[in-house]
Every structure is written in structure tokens, then in C-alpha cells.
């Protein structure tokens, strides 16, 4: 598996690579994470991910709950200033204190003041990522106050002096063995410390003492209801309940975005939060309390009985950039985030390296870039370059944040904030993109304009393809535009899809439908037209055999490539051009058929952002289909079955398949129909459960991400191998994949040919 397993240490510490405001640190962090943390991160995130899918399937109104949660958050952030006033009144009316801190330093100062007013020596803390954001421990410890992190993950991080690698399970990058080694190094103890049980017991006993003697308990808050001052606290260990109950002073800290109007509004969130986070139906403990608690105070273990048996409560809300985010036309969506971690658990890159590479000093994963940019500086979000835009997080976010779009916008802003690349100007690259997009790196401009190279490359395909195999040429390309020389480049076709389709006479259309024929246009997407053009030809053959009247459009970029590089102005230009090209076809009543799923994703999803208010977008969105998805629709309209058209015995690759669907295709809901169709025809289909193959369009071609891309792919490769065991059960399976880059990745990892399902369908047509 790439260089990950073979790289020799010593590795850097996570702290040393926490600030990734320059890209070289990001590359070092990836190397550290692949070497040290990948095993634990993979196991734990994939476990959360599997459980989430399983438990979400039990909740019949999951989608409606998400709509409800989203609507509450939209309302809350919109009316936040008023909610804060209501909340302040409610907390004070109950006898608590309320403090709105404008900055991290302001929050730390206030909390330190409360601790000092009580002459506190020991503070117990529940898990609060917000307290990491404001570096609270640093302030308290600096003033001589002992801080006992009571969440076991935070306890590990405190001992190790590391930043969280995940917002829900901050130490999920640790294996049991590494924790045992850490504890042995840091504590002088004779205790046997090997198993999870032993390590837990060791930490529990140390911390129980702290609970009994703590002067102040500090917790976060998952949600806060303004009307009643009610806070929701989610945990599994019981330490947060103890932090609220045992010490005489309870301080709860949270970002201002946690405030929602009423306690009733917690309803949809309690159904969604644990499910989205760890894939549990509910976490072990979910406290819904309106502090200060009215349970009497204890005087435990010789601590003097307090004069008043009442608790003191402080709610400290933190702005630290959030009110500014609220005004940001794009980043304001970040404030809807309930920090469940579903986006990171469903992200193939995150699953492979975790938040010490795919993360900044506090926040990590898909949503982490927006949090770091909003509460810190834009440069802190540079790690969000690891978001490939695969979109697998989109349907898993309980408040429906379009996280890839946030990252594309951050990338756009980072491009614009950079000085511009002299190399890009020299190569003439900069002249090909719009306005400030010129400031992007030569690599980004190159990948955003793949269509241009493809068009020229295809004109002289014989020569270009030879060049693509020349080591010298590849070294030059790697040096100039960061195209990794270890990657095979997909060959240009000798005849593009458009040329081949127009040169071949259209066959007589089969008459298989009772009503009028389906009319369609095959969009000659750049990847298919200048790559595996035979997939487009197969699409024409199959659709025509099913009675459709299909023509082929010209080939223009649809904008996905530019968007993925964060060049939104250029993406908009491309998107408009594609919409303009397709409008006359739509006006004629033709549906738009797309072979490459990422191009379809542009039409169905991404144009929502770049073609705002453009009426062509709506038409395109509702009338564009993936090739096999369209086959399934046509079959549904006919009165015949799939087996009337397709004969599995004609398959050139046998009946046994391994089908890998494309990430965008999964999100768009057109992976399932392909699998179902292949099975209905009579194939024996094994499928992958990976979220993404790791190539993700241009990502895996970039020299700084090659190792990560191959490490992500390793999961897919091993699933293929597992599905081919035991040999007695039939052995090998033919590889089938729907994405152009997935095909390249499978070929790179397994060294075997890969078919597109539409090619397979074309080969087994009964005509």
C-alpha cells in the first residue's frame, strides 16, 4: 500500500503539524497520519459510519427529521440576537449567571475569574471542543489551577499533549497498544495496563478522586433552549453528569450557534444527534437540564459542607468570530452544524488519515475548514484541500449542510488570497481562467481546464498517448503542474465520442414502446468524449435498442473540474456554457443523458450554487439522468422485463461481477438502480462498501496526495479481493465501475481491465 506502510519514522508529533496554514505542513501531516494513526482512525470512523447507516435505516422519518432540524437551525441563526436576549433573561431568572464572550481571550478571562472567586484549586472538565478552540486549559493552568479532563479521550490527549483528531471521539487515532505505551511512559504505576478494561479502570480511579474533590465543573453544551435556559448534554461515560452534579460550581461553555428557541425544539435533535455521531440509537447519557440543578449539594470525602447547599451556574457563550460568520453569505451555514461528525465518518479521506491531517488546531474533517476559517483565519482552513468534493457527507448531514460547497468556497477564497503563481503566468495557464481565479496555483489551473488539454491531446492522440508514457515528459509534467508521474494517464481516443457518433449512421430505432418514443440527448462530457469514448457509443446503442431517439451534443466542460479546484467564476462560466448548449435540446423535449457521474452531479447539485436564479438550471436538474439510471427508467415504461432485452449468457466477462459505484452517483441516488438492474438480468453482483475509491476526479493525480489516494484505494482493492474468495465459490469477478477516475484507480490498484455497466449492457443486448 503506497509508501504509507514502508516509510520509516520517526514521525512528527501531531502538535507540530497542527497549523497547516502552509501546504507543506499539510503534506507532512498526511505522512505522519498514514504512518502512525491510520489503523485506529480507519477502524473507528468506519465503525461509526456503518452503525449510522444501520440505525438511520430504522428511523422511518429520518429525512423529515433532517428537514425539521434544518428549519429550526435556520430560524435560530436568523434570529440569534433576540434569542440571546431571551436566553440571558431565562438563565438569570433561574438564578444562573450569563456571559457573552466576544473573543476566546474574553471567555478565558471570565472563566478564570469565576474559578478564582471560589479560590478553586481543581477543575473537572467534560469534553468540550469549544474549550479547545479557546485554549481554556492553557489559561487555567497558567494561573495555577489544576484541570482534570474527565472524558477518557480528552484525558488521553491531555496526557499526550495533542489536539483532538475528531470532534466526537477526540482520541480515536489511538490504538489500545499506543495508549498503554503512553500511560506507562507518563505515569509511574505498577498497575497492569494492557487491555481496554485495565486502561479504563486506571483512568476511572484517578478521575473519581478528582470528581470528589473538584471545586468547579466545566462542561460544554450540545444545544441550549433560549426560552427556558435548558441545556442538552450528550455523553457516554457519565463524567458530564458528574461535572454538573458534584462540584458546587458548574460552568457550561458553548458557541453562540448552539442556541435554539425552545425546549420543544430539542425533539428532532435528540432523535438525530447520537445516531449521526456514533450510530447509536441514543448515547448512554443525554441530560436535559435547566441549571442550576436543584438537587442538594454533597460534601464528599472530607470536603467542608458548603454553607449554602445550592449550586452556582454560569453559562458562557462564545462569539469568537461566529457573529461575523452569521453575516457571511456562504459560511453562515456552518453555524447550523451540531458537531455530530457524520461528515468526517462518511469521508474516505478522513477515514484514512483522521483529523490530525484532515484538520487544523481544533476542528477537523469536512466541516472543520469552515469552523477554522470562521473562528480563526482563512489560512487555517488550508487542510480542507483534502475535501475532494465527493459529496458522500451531503446526505449524512443531519442539518443538510452542503459541506463540499463550503470547501469549494474556502478554496476559492484561498486562491484569491494568494499572490498568484509566476509559473502559471509563464505557462499561459492564467489566461484561461476568469478574473481572480488567475491567482490559483499552476496545478489548480491545469486541473480546472482539463478540457482544453484533452481537446488538443485528442487531436494528436497517437502522439500524445506516446508522450504520456514517456518518463521524461511525465517528470516535466510533475514538475510543472504537480501531476504525479506514478499515475498512468487515461489514453486519448483516436476518435472522440462526438466524432465517432456523428460518423456512424444512426440505426433505425427499435419500436418497443406503446406510446411516443423517449427523446434524449447524450451530453458528451469531457471525460467520456476525450477518454473512454466507447462508453458513450455503448450508451447510444443501448438507448436506441430500447426505442429512444438519441442524439449527441457537442463536448463542453460543465464546470465540475473548475469548481473542484475552487475556481468558482470559471466554473460558472463553464456551467452557463453547458446549460446554453443543452437548452435547445431540452426545449425539443429531450432528456439529458450523462455517462460521467461527476458531470451529472454538476447538473443536479452543484449548479444550485453556481447558476443561482438561472431558470435553465431547474430544467437541467430535473431532466438529466445517468446512463444506466435512464435505461432503468425506459424499462419501467415498457411492458417488458430487463431479461427481454439483455441476456446474461452473452456476457463477455461471465456472470460474476464486482461493481463499484461512483461517490457522486451514490449521493444522487443512482447507484442502487444500477446494482438492481444487473442483478435482475442475472448477474452475481458483489459491491463495495467504500464511500469513494480515493481517486476522486483529479485528487489522486496530484503529486502531494498520491500516497493518500492509494491508501484510500486499499480498502476498495481489499474488498474486491475478499469478494473473490474462496476460489471454490467461483473465484474471480469482472470489475465494473461507473466513474472514469474510479476506473483508473481500480486499474492502478488491481492491474485489471474495468468495464462500465453500460458497456456490459451493450454487449449482452438481445437484438
Amino acid at each position: 500500500m503506497a509508501s504509507a506502510g514502508t516509510s520509516s519514522g520517526p514521525y512528527e508529533t501531531p502538535r507540530a503539524v497542527a497549523n497547516k496554514s502552509d501546504k507543506r505542513t499539510l503534506v507532512r501531516a498526511i505522512r505522519m497520519a498514514l504512518g502512525m494513526e491510520s489503523v485506529a482512525v480507519r477502524r473507528n470512523t468506519q465503525n461509526f459510519n456503518r452503525n449510522r447507516y444501520r440505525v438511520a435505516a430504522e428511523v422511518v422519518d429520518y429525512d423529515a427529521l433532517k428537514d425539521e432540524a434544518r428549519a429550526i437551525k435556520e430560524r435560530s441563526i436568523n434570529g440569534l440576537p433576540d434569542l440571546l436576549l431571551t436566553l440571558e433573561k431565562a438563565v438569570r431568572a433561574r438564578g444562573g449567571q450569563f456571559y457573552l464572550a466576544s473573543t476566546a481571550a474574553d471567555a478565558c478571562r471570565y472563566i478564570l475569574g469565576v474559578c478564582q472567586a471560589h479560590n478553586a484549586k481543581l477543575v473537572v472538565k467534560g469534553k468540550s471542543i469549544t474549550s479547545e478552540e479557546i485554549r481554556l486549559n492553557h489559561t487555567l493552568e497558567g494561573a495555577g489551577i489544576e484541570v482534570a479532563e474527565s472524558d477518557l479521550a480528552e484525558f488521553i490527549l491531555q496526557v499526550a499533549d495533542e489536539q483532538p483528531s475528531h470532534i466526537v471521539a477526540p482520541a480515536l487515532h489511538y490504538t489500545t497498544e499506543r495508549i498503554a505505551a503512553l500511560f506507562k511512559r507518563k505515569f509511574s504505576t505498577d498497575a497492569k495496563l494492557e487491555t481496554g478494561e485495565e486502561l479504563t479502570k486506571f483512568a476511572r480511579e484517578r478521575l473519581r478522586e478528582k470528581f470528589l474533590h473538584a471545586d468547579v465543573g466545566i462542561t460544554g453544551a450540545n444545544l441550549i433552549a433560549a426560552e427556558t435556559g435548558t441545556i442538552m448534554l450528550v455523553e457516554s461515560e457519565g463524567n458530564i453528569r458528574m461535572s454538573c452534579l458534584l462540584p458546587p460550581v458548574h460552568i457550561s461553555i458553548a458557541g453562540v450557534e448552539k442556541v435554539i428557541p425552545t425546549r420543544e425544539d430539542i425533539g428532532p435533535f435528540i432523535e438525530l444527534l447520537a445516531l449521526s455521531a456514533t450510530g447509536q440509537r441514543l448515547s448512554s447519557y443525554t441530560s436535559i437540564i435547566s441549571p442550576p440543578l436543584d438537587d442538594p449539594l454533597f460534601a464528599l470525602s472530607g470536603r467542608p459542607r458548603p454553607a449554602k447547599r445550592e449550586r452556582e451556574f454560569h453559562l458562557v457563550l462564545i462569539d469568537n468570530g461566529r457573529m461575523k460568520m452569521r453575516q457571511d453569505p456562504v459560511l453562515h451555514e456552518t453555524l447550523y452544524c451540531i458537531r455530530c461528525s457524520a461528515c468526517m465518518n462518511s469521508c474516505a479521506n478522513f477515514q484514512t488519515v483522521g483529523g490530525h491531517a484532515f484538520g487544523g488546531e481544533t476542528y477537523s474533517g469536512g466541516i472543520g475548514g469552515a469552523w477554522e476559517a470562521g473562528t480563526g483565519t482563512l489560512e487555517n482552513a488550508r487542510f480542507s484541500d483534502l475535501c475532494t468534493g465527493c459529496s458522500r457527507c451531503v446526505n449524512n448531514c443531519p442539518v443538510r449542510i452542503d459541506i463540499p460547497w463550503l470547501n469549494e468556497v474556502l478554496r476559492d477564497r484561498l486562491n484569491r488570497a494568494s499572490a498568484g503563481s509566476p509559473l502559471a503566468s509563464l505557462l499561459g495557464l492564467a489566461s484561461m481562467v476568469r478574473g481572480d481565479d488567475r491567482r490559483a496555483s499552476a496545478q489548480k489551473i491545469f486541473f480546472a481546464n482539463y478540457h482544453w488539454y484533452a481537446e488538443w491531446g485528442a487531436r494528436t492522440a497517437g502522439f500524445t498517448n506516446r508522450m504520456a508514457r514517456s518518463p521524461l515528459a511525465r517528470r516535466v509534467m510533475q514538475a510543472l503542474v504537480g501531476l504525479d508521474s506514478r499515475r498512468a494517464l487515461p489514453p486519448f481516443p483516436l476518435r472522440t465520442l462526438v466524432r465517432a457518433a456523428r460518423e456512424a449512421p444512426a440505426p433505425a430505432r427499435a419500436r418497443v414502446f406503446p406510446g411516443p418514443a423517449a427523446k434524449a440527448v447524450l451530453f458528451a462530457d469531457v471525460y467520456t468524449n476525450y477518454g473512454p469514448a466507447e462508453r458513450g457509443l455503448a450508451t447510444l446503442k443501448v438507448l436506441r435498442a430500447l426505442g429512444a431517439d438519441v442524439v449527441v451534443s457537442d463536448s463542453v466542460p460543465e464546470g465540475r473540474a473548475a469548481l473542484s479546484q475552487g475556481m468558482i467564476a470559471t466554473a460558472r462560466k463553464h456551467a452557463r456554457r453547458a446549460a446554453k448548449l443543452l437548452t435547445p435540446y431540452l426545449d425539443e423535449g429531450r432528456d439529458v443523458i450523462v455517462v460521467e457521474p461527476s458531470a451529472l452531479a454538476m447538473f443536479r447539485r452543484d449548479n444550485n450554487h453556481v447558476l443561482v436564479g438561472n431558470e435553465r438550471f431547474d430544467l437541467l436538474r430535473t431532466r438529466s439522468f445517468e446512463a444506466v439510471e435512464y435505461v432503468v427508467r425506459l424499462l419501467a415504461r415498457s411492458e417488458r422485463t430487463a431479461r427481454d432485452f439483455f441476456d446474461v449468457s452473452r456476457s463477455p466477462v461471465g456472470r460474476r461481477l464486482f461493481y463499484h459505484s461512483h461517490c457522486q452517483q451514490k449521493t444522487l441516488g443512482c447507484a442502487g438502480p444500477t446494482e438492481a438492474l444487473l442483478r435482475e438480468i442475472g448477474f452475481d453482483v458483489a459491491t463495495s462498501s467504500v464511500e469513494c475509491c480515493g481517486m476522486a476526479g483529479s485528487f489522486g493525480y496530484k503529486k502531494e496526495y498520491y500516497d493518500l489516494s492509494m491508501a484510500v484505494g486499499a480498502d476498495l482493492f481489499s474488498q474486491v479481493q475478499a469478494a473473490e474468495q474462496p476460489a471454490a465459490a467461483g473465484g474471480a469477478r469482472a470489475l465494473v465501475a461507473s466513474g472514469t477516475s474510479c476506473t483508473e484507480q481500480l486499474q492502478a490498484g488491481l492491474g485489471r481491465p474495468v468495464l462500465h455497466p453500460i458497456e456490459l449492457l451493450a454487449a449482452i443486448l438481445i437484438v
Binding site: A40, N44, E58, V60, D61, S150, D151, L152, A153, I156, A169, A171, Y174, T175, T176, I179, G196, E197, L199, T200, A203, R204, L207, R208, F211, L212, S236, E237, G238, N239, R241, M242, L245, R263, E264, D265, I266, G267, P268, I270, E271, Q280, R281, L282, S283, S284, Y285, T286, S287, I288, I289, S290, L293, D294, D295, P296, F298, A299, L300, S301
Partner: protein
């Protein structure tokens, strides 16, 4: 979503709470049966603390208070070192297998949290289908909206040390007695 009828609600609760690693028993709600069930559940515990109830008749608790090992009026230090805590559950949630502890009365929060074993008495008619029903101003939700609540799903647990370990800061074992 329509909630299932009451008997299947109890069945679902038992299944899901068991999946969450709680031990669940269905028992008749007579003082003698409850006392016997608590005795079985707390077998091996040298000391136990019983918090008073809001909904369960006082005589049910009264019978249990004569069990050996019960500390009638625990000091704070006895609370911190007792082996088992017995409390009433305000509600049960079938879909998630959770019980809901309403705080407030002396000892209840402590007895549901500090001891290695927590025994909860849940009147069967207080089981709802899903968590959000306790946030809706109707039925049992009306009362729930006024209380400080802890939803408890199985014993305290962590996966932070690698494998799933039950029994961290909170109880290591949760034993639910569903009173029918």
C-alpha cells in the same frame, strides 16, 4: 408516526434496552414482588441506597427499604461508596431502549449515577415510543418538559481505550424492572 400498541411497546422496549446492555425484567407491581426483584438484582451488593419515587406508590418502596444493606439516610460519603442505587424511572423510550431519570428529589441523581449498579423501576404505562415524545406538550411530555432529565441508555461506556468497555464514571451495570 403512530406509536405501536402498548404491549408491543413494552416488548420493543425490552428488546432495545437489552441490546443496549441493560438487564431487563418484567415483574408485577406488588410490594412483595418488587422487593424480591430488587433483592435479586442487588445480590452481592453490600450497601444500597434507595431514592424515593414520584409515581410509584410509597408502599412499594417501603417494602424494599427493609432489605439487608439498605442505608436509610446515607451520608454524603456513604453515597460515594455504596454498591448499588435504586431509583424510579420517569419514563421509558421503546425505540432506543432508554429510561429517563427525573432529577430533583434528594438522592435520585446520585443513586442513578455514582454506584457501580443502578436498579431502575419503570412503570410499564410510562413507556413512550420515541425520545421526542418527551419534548411535546401532551401526555407524559407535559410533565417531562418541566423536569431536569437524564436519558439513560445502558450502562456507562467508552470506546476511547480501543474496545468497547462498559462501566466508566457512571454505573457498570443497569438493571431495569418494568412494573406491569
Amino acid at each position: 408516526m403512530a406509536a405501536p400498541a402498548q404491549p408491543s411497546l413494552i416488548d420493543l422496549f425490552v428488546t432495545r434496552a437489552t441490546e443496549a446492555a441493560a438487564k431487563v425484567e418484567r415483574i408485577p407491581r406488588t410490594p412483595a414482588d418488587v422487593r424480591a426483584a430488587i433483592a435479586r438484582a442487588t445480590e452481592g451488593a453490600r450497601t444500597l441506597v434507595i431514592a424515593s419515587g414520584d409515581f410509584i406508590p410509597a408502599d412499594v418502596f417501603l417494602a424494599a427499604r427493609s432489605l439487608p444493606g439498605v442505608i436509610p439516610k446515607p451520608t454524603d460519603d456513604q453515597l460515594a461508596t455504596a454498591d448499588a442505587g435504586v431509583t424510579e424511572a420517569f419514563a421509558g423510550v421503546a425505540r432506543t431502549g432508554s429510561i429517563c431519570i427525573a432529577m430533583g428529589p434528594p438522592l435520585r441523581a446520585a443513586a442513578s449515577l455514582l454506584m457501580p449498579l443502578h436498579v431502575a423501576l419503570l412503570p410499564a404505562e410510562r413507556i413512550v415510543f420515541r425520545p421526542r415524545e418527551l419534548f411535546e406538550p401532551k401526555g407524559i411530555g407535559q410533565e417531562a418538559l418541566r423536569r431536569n432529565l437524564a436519558f439513560v441508555t445502558g450502562p456507562s461506556a467508552t470506546a476511547d481505550m480501543g474496545p468497547l468497555v462498559r462501566g466508566v464514571h457512571g454505573p457498570h451495570r443497569l438493571h431495569i424492572l418494568v412494573l406491569e
